[in-house]
């Protein structure tokens, strides 16, 4: 049996998709084969890590809150020399900073939106005939072709369906954003961010842009701060840059 077959077997076992007879056989094999056992435990650990990563995220946020508190309340004290050096550097940088900031601050929310917004692309275009009949696939096809009104019409029919609600809400929000309908985009992207799903991180970024487009600068900034504070966020760097410009 090769690695791929082992792998699929483990998945079926952990998903409780194995019939009883096959399950007993697999468990027997697990006891006898130490290599398979290691691979299985490794796989189980990974599944556990993914299901529990919110704990890790909480600890990171806790560290961040601690840092914020001590930064404000001054437990970390810098030496006097460092303070003077920092002050001198600050004076030099401030002149340059003011110039650059003035340049960026003169931009409107709409201009910032245009600068940072780029369409979210679905991954692979090739689809088979059977799937073409499905609403989600049809919606994605319309979205990929830039037919956003049509994609909204298709995706909205899937909202409320347990398996498709989140991707449908995400793409509906994106479609509204493409049409520059900020309030509607906010509504659907907010819906996406309120659930733990694979689209959550993307939805947060696009929601911040939707807020910007809706001239809700404070809400955009608040969301960008939370993106910025997540070290694993795909859009962390972009959020940092945009924050500097809207503050």
């Amino acid at each position: 049996m090769n690695w791929d077959e082992y792998h699929e077997m483990m998945e079926r076992y952990l998903n409780m998709e194995m019939p009883e007879s096959e399950k007993a056989q697999f468990e027997k094999r697990l006891q006898e084969d130490s290599e398979l056992r290691r691979l299985f435990l490794h796989h189980k650990n990974l599944r556990h890590a993914i299901a529990n990563r919110h704990k890790l995220e909480f600890l990171r946020k806790l560290k961040k809150a601690e840092k914020t508190y001590f930064k404000k309340n001054g437990l970390i004290r810098f030496s006097l020399v460092f303070k003077y050096a920092a002050a001198a550097a600050f004076v030099v940088l401030i002149g340059l900073g003011i110039y650059l900031l003035q340049k960026d601050r003169s931009r409107t929310n709409q201009e910032l939106f245009n600068k940072y917004f780029s369409s979210y692309t679905s991954i692979i275009e090739n689809r088979d005939a059977e799937n073409r009949s499905l609403l989600l696939t049809k919606g994605m096809t319309a979205y990929s072709k830039g037919e956003f009104q049509e994609s909204i019409h298709l995706f909205e029919q899937l909202i409320g369906h347990p398996a498709y609600s989140t991707p449908a809400a995400f793409y509906t929000g994106l479609s509204y954003l493409e049409l520059r309908k900020a309030d509607q985009a906010v509504k659907y992207l907010k819906m996406t961010t309120s659930y733990d799903s694979i689209f959550k991180l993307e939805a947060q970024w696009y929601l911040s842009l939707a807020y910007l487009l809706a001239n809700k600068k404070e809400q955009a900034a608040e969301l960008l701060v939370s993106i910025e504070s997540d070290p694993d966020h795909y859009y962390r760097e972009k959020a940092q840059k945009l924050l500097r410009q809207i503050r």
Binding site: W3, D4, E11, L46, N52, L59, T68, E125, L136, S229
Partner: protein, 195 residues
């Protein structure tokens, strides 16, 4: 009382969801008191920081498991958790306290849980760090696959070509993850634990 301060319920909900503002609020409202207590009882601010974090993390675990029962104000509850944690730490250093006995069992059990929890977090960190080094598509395929999505569902949601392609791609991603995992600094420790 500050009318703008969050209610106890909002604080607990905020801790559960890791809300940045609530965590900052908890630090600024309760840390000074805990710090003073630890400093007045043979400790220092660095130890107060550990106690505070441990208490907050324990509270977070209880909120996500819905195990939290508070029959007094959040401040009083949280402060007494910190006191218990600090007493337990002092007890380890052989300090004698008159009222420590009544907390003993409860604290010992919580400490044990927390130690296990920290080991688990270390492991989670290694796995998640490996996962984060994968490209976006692979990461999503693995996350979905681990959340019991079938190949067919993954294919639909990620807009991949066929079920067969999705299956192959998934296996490829898992192999890639395995390779990355082996390069993680904590890899050996995890593997040793697997036996």
């Amino acid at each position: 009382m500050d009318p703008l301060a969050p209610t106890d319920h909002q604080i607990l909900e905020g801790i559960k969801s890791g809300n940045r503002k609530i965590l900052n609020y908890v630090y600024s409202s309760f840390f000074p008191q805990v710090d003073r207590f630890v400093n007045a009882n043979s400790g220092n601010t660095f130890e107060a920081k550990d106690v505070f974090q441990e208490a907050l993390y324990s509270l977070f675990l209880k909120t996500i498991d819905n195990r939290i029962r508070i029959n007094r104000s959040f401040g009083a509850y949280f402060f007494s958790s910190c006191v218990n944690i600090w007493y337990a730490a002092l007890n380890k250093r052989n300090y004698a306290f008159e009222d420590i006995d009544k907390f003993q069992e409860e604290i010992a059990a919580e400490k044990q849980d927390l130690k296990k929890e920290m080991n688990e977090i270390e492991k989670i960190e290694i796995y998640i760090s490996s996962l984060n080094k994968l490209d976006k598509v692979c990461r999503k395929i693995i996350e979905m696959s681990m959340s019991k999505f079938t190949n067919r569902e993954i294919m639909k949601m990620l807009n991949l070509s066929t079920e067969g392609f999705t299956r192959q791609k998934k296996l490829k991603c898992f192999r890639k993850l395995q390779r990355i995992f082996k390069q993680e600094p904590g890899f050996k420790k995890v593997i040793d634990e697997l036996g």
